[in-house]
């Protein structure tokens, strides 16, 4: 019985040299030992509290920074004053309140939810496909959404129908359609075959990207709206966007958390997981559907923001280990914080002009990822 170690897996990252540095870091913070006997401690409330604190600080800082600076304490007070049952006497300028509540916070919250959705989906795809290079766009979400958005932006489809914006609905449907097609192709009598699913996703991605390019070449000279959507961003964020994304994120993350232990088991092999009492086909379907819906919902409001879904889960693995029951909630918190900070950079670095946030995540993300690859190779 050859017992093979899956050396291509994320696990190797845990032992990469970076871990040493991060271990020092983790001693100073309530992070716990790196993945050691993690099961003996139950749910890691300390780490989740740390992640939540990080997220809160990112949000308050991002809310305060901009052409009109708002002190952190005022930010907290303005937010608190909007909560039900809280009475706070107003100590801030009216404009601060309006800017924070109507302009910055919708953006910060949408960025956070999007980052969380992409990071959770990335972690799930990596676990489902047992491939550390998987990201939420692996099997067609991005290209499907991209094609649908391009059609809407260039084909003269009305932007609003009955007061609803068409673009996010089209992008969502495009994303879900692409993955559903890949899924249907990968299905046979025994259920879904993951390698076929990836290959089908890659083929569908090529096809839809080709069609998108063709449409772009044959239409209006001004392609900036399309490029700006493809690169992603939060500059048109509204509270309603967050309200519509939130249910997908909560339901998706809830379903994935329910299957997190089973995802740990599925790291062994499908057959072994089956022998240990896992309904593997159902688990795969639930995980695929949950991650795909969360990603599609995120993408439909903010466009195609890369690297967050790939990097946030890896960063979490490096510090806290590979147990999916920790990995999923921590990825959500770290992904959300990273996206908020990236969006803050996007709107302040070149102020008053704004960079697409996808450019910022690529600038931070790509070097980090190359470093991970190098560290893995050196190991």
């Amino acid at each position: 019985m050859p017992v093979n170690l899956t050396f291509d897996h994320e696990a190797l990252l845990v032992r990469a040299p970076l871990t040493k540095n991060l271990k020092l870091f983790s001693k100073a913070l309530p992070l716990g030992r790196t993945a050691r006997a993690s099961n003996l401690r139950g749910f890691p409330w300390g780490r989740v509290a740390f992640g939540a604190l990080l997220l809160l600080v990112s949000a308050i800082v991002a809310g305060g920074v901009g052409s009109v600076a708002i002190p952190p304490l005022d930010t907290v007070r303005i937010i608190a004053s909007r909560l039900p049952f809280v009475e706070i006497s107003q100590t801030w300028a009216d404009t601060s309140g309006t800017i924070l509540w109507n302009l910055r916070l919708p953006r910060v919250v949408l960025a956070g939810l999007t980052g969380a959705a992409l990071a959770v989906s990335g972690a799930t795809y990596q676990g489902l496909f047992r491939n550390p290079l998987a990201d939420p766009y692996l099997i067609g979400v991005a290209s499907g959404a991209g094609l649908a958005a391009t059609i809407v932006l260039l084909a003269g489809v009305p932007v609003l129908i009955l007061g609803f914006s068409v673009l996010p609905v089209a992008a969502f449907l495009g994303a879900v359609t692409a993955v559903t097609l890949a899924y249907l192709i990968s299905r046979n009598a025994d259920g879904m075959h993951l390698t076929t699913l990836i290959l089908a996703g890659v083929a569908i991605t090529s096809l839809t990207t080709g069609i998108t390019t063709l449409i772009m070449l044959r239409s209006a000279p001004d392609l900036r709206p399309v490029f700006s959507w493809l690169l992603g961003g939060f500059n048109s964020a509204q509270w309603t966007h967050s309200a519509m994304l939130l249910p997908y994120l909560l339901l998706g993350t809830g379903a994935i958390m329910a299957y997190a232990r089973i995802m740990n088991l599925m790291q062994l092999s499908e057959e072994h997981a089956k022998q240990m009492g896992v309904n593997v086909q159902r688990a795969k379907l639930v995980l695929l559907a949950a991650a795909t819906l969360a990603t599609s919902a995120a993408v439909s409001f903010s466009g195609l923001i890369g690297f967050v879904g790939l990097i946030a889960p890896h960063a979490v693995r490096l510090v806290w280990g590979t147990d999916y029951r920790y990995l999923v909630p921590m990825s959500a918190l770290i992904g959300a914080s990273f996206m908020i900070v990236a969006d803050l950079a996007a709107r302040t670095v070149a102020s008053p002009a704004e960079l697409p946030v996808g450019v910022v995540t690529a600038f931070c993300g790509a070097p980090f990822f190359l470093y991970l690859l190098k560290a893995r190779k050196a190991n």
Binding site: M1, N4, L5, S38, N39, A258, N264, Q267, Q275, G277
Partner: protein, 257 residues
Amino acid sequence: MLSIRDVHFSYRGKAILTGLSLDVQDGEHVGLVGPNGAGKSTLIKIISGVLRPASGSVHINGADITAMRPHERARLVAVVPQETHLPAGMTVLDLVLLGRNPHMKLLQWEGPDDRAVAIRAMELTNIDQMADRYLSTLSGGERQRAVVAMALAQESPVLLMDEPTSSLDLAHQAKVLDMVAELHQKRRGAVLIAMHDLTLAAQYCHRLVMLSEGRTYAQGQPSEVLTVENISKVYGASVFVLPHPTGGTPVVVGRRE
């Protein structure tokens, strides 16, 4: 305890099991032998629910396991598969605790009882000192014992093993098989173990079942099953069968043409 009746199975039109019947009693340690393609691995996959038989029945303590939900079945049957992929960044204890899955609900976390079972399983397999080590730092034999411990943590009355020693060297083969025999003394239940090495199978199993072309060809004491005639007929190989210097179990040696 384990009762298999007239099981048929074919894959892509090729008949693999053709009316196989087999019983294993509580406390028995049965070896499954036979040439490549005789159906040993297929039988193990059918008992463990990975494959469904086309016809026939598999019962454990009277319950039909083909009609069970996966986690119910996994409480009755644990498997040490022929090949496993172990994530390098997982600790031994985390791996062994995965064996508690059939006893847990979706959002449930391992409690003190699960931990106690896992620790006991690691003690039985003599890896309790390595509980906190990463799987990537273990030797082949140690990894093997961790996989056995995970199967033991399922606390199932039936334990199946598919070629558990095929990739180990001589010393580790003996170590793992000694451990399985010792375990079996301690926890009883039924053990069914598929083996290529006929000599080792004869040394460690109470009873051997020889499969040929998808059904049982012979079964009984190792000395009754491992005869020159049976081996020549089933394997198509001409061999010498000698008595083992200690214990007298049959030793099978190839005859050079």
